[in-house]
Symmetry: C2
Subunit: 351 residues, 2 copies
């Protein structure tokens, strides 16, 4: 079957996991839109593998990129018809953006948070930054509230270009908010805003490759973390979060994307989270929409894109899932130092 | 700390997993409602453990059941204040019911499906039945559509008191729909409706303790299953589903509840699903609302309830998550026969 041949070609050329179903998802996306970013968004296949698949489909005569669009050729349409592939259809709820929750009491801080975020530091490539929309951060806080992980709780935010610490503190609901980030600009920003607004946020510049300071271990009810997507980097950040939790009943929140992580990597990550003593209680894909960062044209996947167009700032294509885990046993993780590059792996697209 | 003492007492008396956080969830629910069913719904703790916790809190002088309500005493309010426990707050989206999706094209079959479901066989205890609301079934179908698991796909429904096979077939979207159930009444009902409405549903009476018929193995793109909640029963049904899938890229949907399964059991189930070759792609809790079954007063947990009131038929307290898994490797499961009681385990509440 032809989709298998494309999948084999992608695997051979990239060394990445890629199933015939992934090839099908690419074609389903191409049936819905001719725009490269919309296809990346809809296909839910890692960008690096997707680019390889698009090229393989061009070589097979199914796709044509000559007009700056991803266009199905008559041969491509025939493949789609034979395989019975339907256009990708998004049925995201128009009210909650597919997240399933209302802002509720968090709506009261929305305006203030947006005003604060307007002067945030811009995302930089050095730390694999790229922040979510202000709505995404606000809905995150609502989700924590809804799950009993915010009010009266001690919250640790590991890496905070999304300004979760400020949004959480603005609600005045948590008992304690601590924010760690490697980036001095962010640390300064959060510290300054907290002082101006009278918010209690403890701010610490910290490189998550280093062990957590002793005083933060076993001290929190909830952690939040939107890790870098390499397997090693993701697990390092997740393990730092787990080591900061008090124990059974404490919860962790993590962002995880399909754009830079195959489902094989998702599975590896999930196995490690379970092995560390947690259950997965929630996994809501496409919960987070990202604002396009200014380094699109220097990111790793740019040169591989068959159609090159810089997307608008508020034209979301990079989305990620919100995952909530809860410890059912004391966390089994080490708080050891990590060395070397933790940002890059074969599926990395944005570093 | 007092919550730990309650948790210890519950564990000692029931042998079930129960954390101080679970005790906190019970009190958070009791702050929001005095109604026993609403508390069961909000607390997200297995009913059997919850009943034990309510009794322990009564003995501690925190709760009083004498007026047919679950009332916090002044001593209970003091515990809540000291521990900083906030009322349980649900922020479910009012439009999608927290599911995150629109019905989209599935809305066209809603009226017809509701008309058909009006004459469905009633749920019976013998097979641990209890069906979801018609909305829940319709949203399930929308979810499958949204994830590319419906249109042009071959779908197997394992156990079908929710009438998923009929709803799927009504859309005319799948390539093939096969439904298995042990209950002759359901098999007859689906067969009769399918004939009357000209729907293509293959119907087979089958006891899922028995291996799947050879012809169904490796033959489907998607399976749907809302298993019984005992660990052994859940995994048996899930493994039957997995053995029916074609291979990598094929998807399975499962219902899983907090009402009869602790997060420890959730973790055990998740580990087995991952070990079988799947990744978890979606986990949306409270996706399914159940219609109250007629055997409430003979279910296992009834005698343990500290306040006995038969809930109204459409007064949902039993909810479950929708879990989607996708194979990233060929399924590693056995298609072996199972003997004995697969419905009961220590956390079972409704059998």
């Amino acid at each position: 079957m032809k989709l298998s041949a494309i999948a084999q070609e992608v695997r051979d050329n990239t060394g990445l996991p890629f199933t015939p179903r992934d090839a099908e998802r690419v074609l389903a996306a191409a049936l819905t839109s001719e725009d490269i970013w919309r296809i990346i968004d809809l296909a839910d296949v890692p960008v690096m593998a997707l680019c390889s698949a698009l090229r393989a489909m061009e070589r097979a005569g199914w796709l044509d990129f000559s007009r700056g669009r991803v266009a199905l050729t008559p041969a491509g349409r025939e493949v789609v018809r034979e395989a019975g592939i339907a256009p990708a259809l998004e049925l995201r709820c128009g009210r909650c953006g597919g997240r399933g929750v209302e802002l509720g009491p968090v709506a009261q801080i929305a305006e203030k948070f947006r005003k604060i975020a307007a002067s945030r530091p811009e995302a930089i490539q050095q730390f694999d930054q790229g922040y979510v929309t202000e709505d995404s951060t606000l809905y995150r806080i609502a989700y924590l509230w809804n799950r009993g992980d915010l009010v009266g709780k001690e919250l640790l935010v590991l890496g905070d270009d999304d300004l979760v610490s400020l949004a959480a503190a603005l609600t005045r609901a948590p008992k304690r908010v601590v924010m760690l980030d490697i980036d001095e600009r962010l640390v300064d920003f959060v510290r300054t805003v907290a002082r101006q607004e009278g918010l209690e946020v403890e701010v610490l510049q910290h490189d998550l490759r280093e062990p957590l300071p002793q005083g933060l271990l076993g001290a929190f009810d909830t952690f939040f973390c939107d890790p870098t997507e390499s397997l090693r980097g993701f697990l390092a950040f997740a393990h730092r979060g787990l080591s900061a939790l008090r124990g059974p009943g404490s919860a962790g929140y993590l962002g995880l994307t399909r754009r830079e992580a195959s489902l094989s990597k998702w599975r590896d990550i999930q196995r490690e989270l379970l092995a560390a003593g947690a259950a997965i209680t929630d996994l809501r894909d496409d919960f987070h929409d990202y604002v396009n960062w200014p380094y699109i044209e220097t990111m790793r996947s740019w040169e591989h894109l068959p159609v090159k167009r810089v997307p608008g700032r508020e034209e979301p294509w990079y989305r990620s899932a919100l995952i909530r885990i809860e410890l059912v046993e004391p966390a089994r993780v080490e708080n050891a130092p990590l060395s070397g590059d933790i940002f890059t792996d074969p599926e990395a697209a944005t570093t």
